[in-house]
Symmetry: C2
Subunit: 333 residues, 2 copies
Amino acid sequence: MTTEVSTATQAQQAKSQHTLAPSGSMRARMEALIRQKQNEIVGAMEKIDGKQFFRDHWERPDGTGEGITAAIEDGNVIERGGALISVVHGKLPEAAVRKMRENHSSLRDKPDGDLPYWVCGLSMIMHPRNPMAPTVHLNYRYFETQNEDGSPQAWWFGGGADLTPYYLFEEDAKLFHKCLKNACDKYDPRYYPDFKAWCDKYFVNHHRGEARGIGGIFFDDLVDEDPEKVFSFVTACFNAFLESYPVILERRKDMPFTPEQKQWQLIRRGRYVEFNLLHDRGTQFGILAPGARIESILISLPLNVSWRYNFHPKEGSEEAKLVEVLKSPREWV
Amino acid sequence: MTTEVSTATQAQQAKSQHTLAPSGSMRARMEALIRQKQNEIVGAMEKIDGKQFFRDHWERPDGTGEGITAAIEDGNVIERGGALISVVHGKLPEAAVRKMRENHSSLRDKPDGDLPYWVCGLSMIMHPRNPMAPTVHLNYRYFETQNEDGSPQAWWFGGGADLTPYYLFEEDAKLFHKCLKNACDKYDPRYYPDFKAWCDKYFVNHHRGEARGIGGIFFDDLVDEDPEKVFSFVTACFNAFLESYPVILERRKDMPFTPEQKQWQLIRRGRYVEFNLLHDRGTQFGILAPGARIESILISLPLNVSWRYNFHPKEGSEEAKLVEVLKSPREWV
């Protein structure tokens, strides 16, 4: 456990910039939400695992950001996992703004030049020890660009959650998707089908022609005339995770398994690494950013991984059944 | 062990296109060289390991290429490794030619439009079981574009070899570099310093600010008024490997080691995976190519890998000594 301590002055500056957000602003509320949800998620996982997460608080030396990495390694139930929050601000260079405009319509009519931005988010991943228990990933974030007076200019929410089983238990897939669908349906009937399809399209190991897992939801650039609606939707998404994954983990964590089943899990974890390092834009963007916190970003990688040449499960086996589903994503609810 | 068999006609076409190369042509000679060196390397490794490599011969169904993947998993000495040859031809689309021109001067004055090409090469990687023994990588290839009558137009050689120890034995680093320098010096006194520097610049985990290993040589676009000279140099490079790595492996394969030292090896192997998937252009290009042989490309990844949060070796330890060298590459000969 380490803490990077900036100089007192820099830390002070950072603090004052954070608290500049009016107490009722979306920035302040989203920051409060991710702090609360980090605690809830870590609390739920610690309760199941029996071992405490360690917490690593960091601040950028120049006062432009801070975060908390809460992580676990060699837990009783979770082999490796982390729940990370970060709150970061700065100036986007003009070239980055131009690039961002392609995917974020609310940026399109903004002036050229460097643009002040503010972003906060929570990223989470859990790799359980038992191969019957699925790996899970979640990320929700709020992005804002600002006018000269610090008031919000363009903004959007992004994120999602997806499940990566090593053995397919349909009731788990259904519960995970059902909770997400319920969260979506309260706000917009198009959310679940759209965001489920987006997830199936994004989390793909293109070089292997198979999905990373059995999906969930994924969205970016989510805006609405009513920002409250989107904030409330994101809160519901967090809750959908808290209502489903701990239940799934409890169901699977003590199931018996063979060394061959553990080996299959390690091979599938290799696929997880391949996706994160070859295809995941978030990981690549994060890692290549100057001053990136590599260890926090790569907490997404499993503790143990294995590669085997041309390993194909036997026809009709449970392993083959999973691969079939990964090759053609299904509807679960 | 599998063999992909194309239809008889397609295979026949492929064969006839290969044998179109005049028997004394560079294509025919380089193909013969990589076949011979694959056998010599695999033979040398099998002799040390005591276990046979398996061989997986493949042909592209459309007759545009073939190769042999020779690999080993769970050997006595080598945990995972492969020596792959491939001989492939086709047409480069105009956009690819334009891109290639940036780095290959001999292409610059060639006509626009699709361009027939022919390439063959040998890629090799060995991950030994014992953490005192280094991982090694080698790749040499010959690329040629062709006129309408099949005669060579532009051509070049590329490749290199580099060593990735988990514990630093200076005598190993020196032997590896000395053999490469001897091979270089016979042809051009600038080769070794230039190609050693190129290697140090290329095999870098930029996101961690450290080299993958202790280097070797790396070159691309190598041409000369006298093609014989370059072919002879590449032959000498292969021999430099055969003169050094088997000696190093014999020295280290039976050394005692602790579970902690094995654990360190697994963590360092994570860095190897990070380089290959995040930074290596060859891997990324190979994987994203249509019809890529993923399992052959990813034979470069180790059998077992581990990620640990913020693992830093103790000051003054052997592990720390290695990291120091990776942070500032040294001259070895």
